[in-house]
């Protein structure tokens, strides 16, 4: 297997790959590739691929863990790491073989096309990504170095903000109502309908909506709500919440489309490399490497594998050729993982992939549903319930001034899955830290409605 290559080789192969990218009708941002060694790769991975990122101990933890796994051979390094920006930025490992570089390049264009065209990424403003992350890093470093603030206090706020970073709106395509708009809407709704008989009977009593309530409608954005409604936060604290929130918003589309996106890139690297004249040596290595990437992981879900199979299925069902291409291009634009799986992961495919549902019994994980005529639907729904943001419980602010004591009232939209009690308790203490007053969370534990309260005196659980 040829492993020696230079930048010239990469450029030559990149030209050939791009010809295919164009021929297949993929629509990409300009692409930059950076060749790095494995230590740099580990660091990019720990910092979500960003060339510049603010410091926090959790990234050090992440780095140590990746490095340990890598050093002990438990896990290899990914062949590719692409970030959603315009131009798109990707890293190639110096020690990889030429074939792996070609495969990676093709795979990267798949992601690039997906970032540019999938609707969930429209809110991410890819042309500002690198600059935005860099500006965030500079601001946070400045706070750390400010003698009146310091590392410890910055870190304490970041710890709390990270805990809540995914407690935010999931569908960014839907406009969020401002409190003023929400009040207007409530007024409209309360106004009695036009009454043609108003002369002969008394007008209905006008039921006044409570317009002083904040938020008017339950608010998913915990960090923003706290930022905007806790007047005791310092300006720098507000700024940290803003930064953490903005970065989470940037990553949510990637969380929401993991299976689609990895499947899409795998689908295209396969088609592109199949269309290139690789020559026997490279071809053989390609088959081996491709199978390593898209093989099923027994006991868990490999998004590369499941995604690829669903895309292939969509292409096949639409009738191959141009019709198939049109079908997959339409889906890549308009779906996210939940819709993608619900619409296109049918009984046949669930069966073929031998998907199952498992549950914990004692210390074991035991299969509870398999892909048969009765169970496949539940297996699919369980998968959908654990992909993307569906794996994050929905917690909303329902009142910022509960009981007139500025208690922050939250509710957990219980969907049959209980919160992890230890994690709920500790996370609630982070909410309390940021809100600086009592916070309470309505949830259901073991079928019983419970109210988790965190006040200055600590944590308590009350029956609701």
């Amino acid at each position: 297997m040829p492993t020696a290559w230079d930048i010239g080789d990469l450029e030559t192969w990149d030209d050939r790959v791009r010809e295919q990218v164009e021929a297949f009708g993929l629509d990409c941002y300009p692409q930059e590739f950076e060749v790095c060694d494995h230590n740099q790769m580990l660091a990019y991975m720990a910092y979500s691929g960003m060339p510049s990122h603010y410091p926090h101990w959790s990234y050090g933890k992440s780095f140590e863990k990746l490095k340990t796994l890598y050093d002990h051979g438990v896990s290899g390094l990914p062949y590719e790491m692409v970030i959603n920006s315009n131009p798109a930025l990707a890293y190639l490992m110096r020690d990889n073989s030429l074939l792996l570089q070609i495969l990676t390049i093709a795979h990267v264009y798949g992601h690039n096309d997906f970032f540019k065209n999938n609707f969930t990424f429209r809110s991410t403003r890819a042309e500002y990504t690198i600059g935005t992350f860099k500006a965030h890093a500079q601001r946070i470093r400045r706070y750390q170095e400010d003698p009146s603030i310091g590392l410890e206090r910055v870190e304490a706020i970041l710890d709390a903000a990270h805990a809540l970073s995914l407690q935010c709106r999931r569908n960014l395509a839907v406009r969020k109502l401002s409190d003023e708009d929400a009040r207007q809407a409530a007024l409209e709704a309360a106004r009695p309908p036009a009454d043609p008989f108003h002369r002969i009977h008394r007008a209905q009593d006008l039921e006044e909506p409570d317009l002083r309530r904040t938020p008017q409608v339950p608010d998913d954005d915990l960090l923003l709500f706290i930022r905007d409604h806790n007047p005791y936060l310092a300006e720098w604290e507000r700024d940290l919440l803003t930064i953490v929130h903005e970065e989470a918003q940037y990553f949510i589309p990637q969380i929401e489309t993991k299976i689609m996106n990895e499947g899409w890139a795998s689908y295209w690297h396969k088609r592109i490399l199949d269309s290139l004249e690789l020559g026997p040596d490279l071809q053989l290595e390609f088959i081996v490497r491709h199978n390593q990437v898209v093989r099923p992981h027994e006991g868990s879900i490999n998004p590369y594998h499941v995604g690829l199979r669903v895309w292939e299925h969509i292409h096949r069902s639409a009738g191959e050729g141009a019709a198939g291409d049109a079908a997959i291009f339409a889906v890549r634009e308009s779906d996210r993982d939940t819709a993608f799986l619900r619409r296109h992961l049918g009984e046949e495919l669930v069966r073929e992939l031998d998907l199952f549902e498992y549950q914990r019994k004692g210390n074991d994980y035991v299969i509870t549903q398999v892909a048969d005529a009765d169970g496949w639907r539940q297996v699919r729904d369980t998968l959908i319930a654990t992909v993307g943001m569906n794996s994050v419980p929905v917690i909303r602010v329902i009142d910022g001034d509960a009981g007139g004591k500025r208690t922050l009232a939250l509710e957990h939209l219980h969907d049959g899955r209980d919160l992890h009690p230890e994690y709920a308790e500790r996370t609630l203490s982070f909410v309390h830290q940021l809100w600086q007053r009592e916070v309470q969370l309505e949830t259901v534990i073991g079928g019983k409605p419970q109210l988790l309260v965190h006040s200055d005196r600590g944590f308590t659980v009350k029956a609701r």
Binding site: E11, H56, S58, N363, Y365, V370, R417
Partner: protein, 397 residues
Amino acid sequence: MPPVDSVFRPFRPADAERSDRAAGDRARHRDKVRQAIRDNIADIIAEESIIGKDRDRIIKVPIRGIKEYRFIYGNSAPGAGQGNGQSQPGQVVGRQQGDAPGQPDRAGDKPGVDYYETDVRLDELIDLMFEDLELPDLERKRLREIPSDRTAKRKGYRQVGIRQRLDKRRTVRARVKRMMATRERDPAADERRFPFHDDDLTYKHLVTDVREESNAVVVCIMDTSGSMDTMKKYLARCFFFLLYQFIRSKYRNVEIVFIAHHTEGKEVTEEEFFHKGESGGTLISSGYQKALDIIAERYHPSLWNIYAFHCSDGDNFDTDNANALRCATELAEVCNLFGYGEIKPMGARAYESSMLNVFRRLDADNFQTVLIERKEDVWPSFKALLAKERLPEPATA
């Protein structure tokens, strides 16, 4: 020309060398791990044998990883996985920890898996423990520098030695002897001048005295009834450990005896001493009697400095109190120091019985009681105990 532009940036070693961007964050993370060890030190020390162990020993410490808390679903939530084509309901597909379903690289996100095992040198752990007890550094140094109880004993004379040990009297006598012998042989020799010769110089020879009496034994007696929990064990271990370290700094050879008792006293290993919990009643006298027996048999008070210390939560059978008091009095007679430490973590004092009242009737200079309610008490109690020890030496022989 294809519509998409691309740029390749080659690898530059200079970047790679400069690019340890995670260094600061890794250091912060390690600080946090160290803090986690500190926070768990009660558990670690209560579980590990450290008294009388080599300080270079490496201990494996399981510590909780630094968890990043978020709202997540609990263990009851179902998940989805992929099989090999033969999945059957009821089949076990994984275990909690290890190869549980879920991508391996995300294991840390799952609750209960955030554990690390860290190698820590006993030395470091002890340092942490001293920090934990808020031992002022100054005091620690003083403890370590206390000269041991060694003395020098004269043993004969040598022809070589250092100036200070020159025995002038013997040197002069040697010269006189030599002079007289010389004159006998040769009476014509010069009468006036007869200088010292190197052979005349006689030095006192000193050897370090390895007296048997400079040995010490620490007798650790502990109540191992079921109520001794992790916190109590930790406090007891801290106390015995300090005692051992201190005694060791004063004597060349320190032996340790562990006696565990509930209704019956027996000699045990350190392991059993701290780990064996037995339920049932407590007869404190049984432990003391065992200590007296062992002292009589192996550590005669004329040859050994004996330090005995008893830790208990003070819950003794009332009928045994008189007996316990008698045995304690006997122990105080044979020991340099005999101490009783009552370990009652905060709040337990109100509703449990106590031996402190009983021992109030024991009047001996070298008997001391302390009450330890929390780890902050260990060090002051230890100091109080030794303050007593600095009073006139009790008659040990």
